[in-house]
């Protein structure tokens, strides 16, 4: 037993490459079988004739892919992209100040961070549902507005595109705050002191020093908001009241009520392609940024 053990140990020592491959193999096979292959099968499904009970027939067709360019579906895609970009911009507008406030505070720092981490760990479904209590006709916002006499009738907010946008922003803000906070925390205070000593006013220190140095965190955070927003269907389902159809809802419908798996597969791929375009933009930015740093 001990001889076998020492022989295994010696063999591992002599062949680090074999060891690395053996360690990687289980996870690699798992992701190949349950991530890569399913996507490949889905790609072929987009070209299969539709089975009306769900699933596909053997044979090949391009009708589903051709449908993607119909104005109706392009409009849904366009609306989803615009809404996701807006959600990303608004999330940035509140996330950066939150991260700044956390970094600047000393006594309350861990508590303020906790208040962002808590929603981060809380069920997204529960948080989306809870948003209804804030924005419905009898919700807190309307009650406050009526109590202070700004409005007399409740403002219709729930089941509008604005509600979906609000849901996406609050839903994904923690994903934006945490990367920005991480890059703000790493910022060298000496740089800010130098800028201050050299007479740069506060806004200038922000624009010329803080913002450029934390841009990588902003880019990561933006991606973490944009991607799930684009693929979301829960938010529009609960807060849009099925009136605000996004590409995520369209995809979901093809696999539930519409039972059109080939078209759903084609739509999924379109969605995946838009996401990959966003990723590519981020990679190019990061590459350019790294180059600029060394230059």
């Amino acid at each position: 037993m001990t001889r076998l053990r020492s022989r295994v140990a010696a063999a591992l020592h002599r062949h680090p490459r074999v060891q690395a491959t053996a360690l990687l193999l289980p996870a690699g096979v798992w992701l190949a079988v349950f991530f890569a292959i399913p996507l490949a099968i889905m790609a072929t499904y987009a070209f299969r004739p539709r089975h009306i009970l769900g699933g596909v027939y053997p044979g090949w067709t391009t009708v589903h892919v051709a449908r993607l360019v119909e104005p109706l579906y392009l409009a849904v895609l366009g609306r989803s992209v615009v809404l996701s970009l807006l959600a990303t911009a608004l999330a940035l507008l509140v996330s950066y100040p939150i991260a700044l406030v956390i970094v600047r505070s000393t006594r309350w720092r861990s508590f303020l961070l906790f208040l962002v981490v808590l929603p981060f760990w809380t069920s997204f479904l529960v948080r989306t549902y809870a948003t209804i209590f804030l924005i419905r006709d009898t919700g807190l916002i309307n009650q406050v507005l009526q109590a202070i006499g700004v409005t007399h009738q409740p403002l219709r907010m729930l089941y509008t595109p604005g509600a979906v946008l609000f849901g996406l922003v609050t839903g994904f803000v923690p994903f934006m705050v945490l990367p920005i906070y991480a890059s703000l925390e790493k910022l060298d205070p000496a740089l800010l002191e130098a800028a201050e000593v050299l007479g740069a006013p506060e806004w200038r220190r922000f624009v010329r020093v803080i913002w450029p140095l934390t841009l990588p965190g902003v880019v990561v955070g933006s991606l973490l908001v944009f991607v799930p927003s684009l693929g979301s269907f829960l938010t529009s389902d609960l807060l849009g009241g099925a009136k605000v159809e996004l590409i995520g809802n369209l995809v979901q419908n093809q696999f539930t009520s519409a039972r059109n798996w080939p078209f759903g597969s084609a739509l999924s791929f379109l969605l995946l392609m838009v996401v990959m375009l966003g990723m590519l933009a981020q990679l190019r930015y990061t590459a350019a940024h790294a180059k600029g740093k060394t230059a």
């Binding site: 140990a9 690395a20 690699g28 889905m42 100040p97 808590l118 549902y129 009898t138 799930p228 696999f255």
Partner: protein
């Protein structure tokens, strides 16, 4: 002026994040059925939860799925991280950057592709398919978390053990694993939370008989405004808060030890 603007925007952000959760918890004690206004304090909705056998079944399903998916993904993830952390080669770098792909793939696409796989392979949807799906989306995260810990720890300690006469296996068991443990625990916690909270991927990979807690909540939320769902959701929020406080205390203490 800029400071004030920053503070106002941050306050709006915090309010949007936290007010819904506070309202949800408060309204779970509201005696009014429609919830349009405050009708006094009640524990009725919590009491009714006790009579919902389906919720207990769903909770058990969620726990079984969460624990199994966590064990599988953390196990496979730790092994892979050990390989990725050991060698700094071009191939390893390429593999590491490819791990981002499953993370950025929209959940709806991941869920559907698995549904298509299971249907093409003739596998019936049920507990096993949900566990497989959850382990799959947790795996890249567990690899990255363990890898981060591996990169952050002092590798010379392993070399010291080897120099002092320990063989590779002993050095791994007595030095690497104890040092790596906080990373493995963090990865497992993340995996369990991701699994326990997941709705979208589960929606596509669960059969009619296997409902996790989020699926049941979704069904309740869509059908009617039933205050028991408020109590159930509030329990989840409170549970998350307590768990987070405990883990932060725990990690805080361990950071203090180091």
């Amino acid at each position: 002026m800029t400071r004030r603007l920053t503070a106002i925007l941050a306050l709006i952000g915090y309010a949007a994040l936290l007010l819904p959760l506070l309202l949800l918890v408060a309204w779970s004690f509201n005696a009014s059925r429609s919830g349009a206004r405050w009708d006094g304090f009640t524990l009725d909705w919590y009491h009714r939860l006790l009579h919902r056998g389906d919720l207990l079944v769903a909770l058990r399903t969620s726990l079984v799925v969460g624990v199994t998916a966590t064990v599988v993904s953390t196990g496979l993830g730790t092994l892979a991280a050990l390989a990725l952390g050991r060698e700094r080669s071009r191939a390893m770098g390429a593999i590491e950057s490819m791990l981002v792909l499953p993370i950025v793939t929209p959940e709806v696409v991941a869920g559907i592709s698995l549904l298509v796989l299971f249907s093409a392979a003739g596998v019936h949807l049920g507990l096993a398919t949900v566990i497989i799906a959850h382990a799959t989306f947790c795996l890249p995260f567990t690899i990255l978390v363990v890898l981060a810990r591996l990169r952050g720890m002092d590798r010379t300690l392993e070399d010291a053990a080897l120099t002092l006469g320990a063989d590779e296996i002993t050095a791994f068991r007595r030095v690497t694993v104890p040092l790596l443990l906080p990373g493995i625990v963090a990865a497992a916690l993340l995996a369990f939370t991701l699994s326990f909270d997941d709705f979208i991927v589960t929606f596509f990979t669960a059969g009619p008989g296997t409902s996790t807690l989020p699926l049941v909540i979704y069904g309740m939320v869509r059908r009617t405004v039933e205050p028991t769902v408020n109590a159930l959701s509030a329990l989840l929020v409170i549970g998350t808060t307590l768990l987070l406080v405990v883990t932060q205390r725990w990690t805080g203490r361990h950071a203090g030890e180091a």
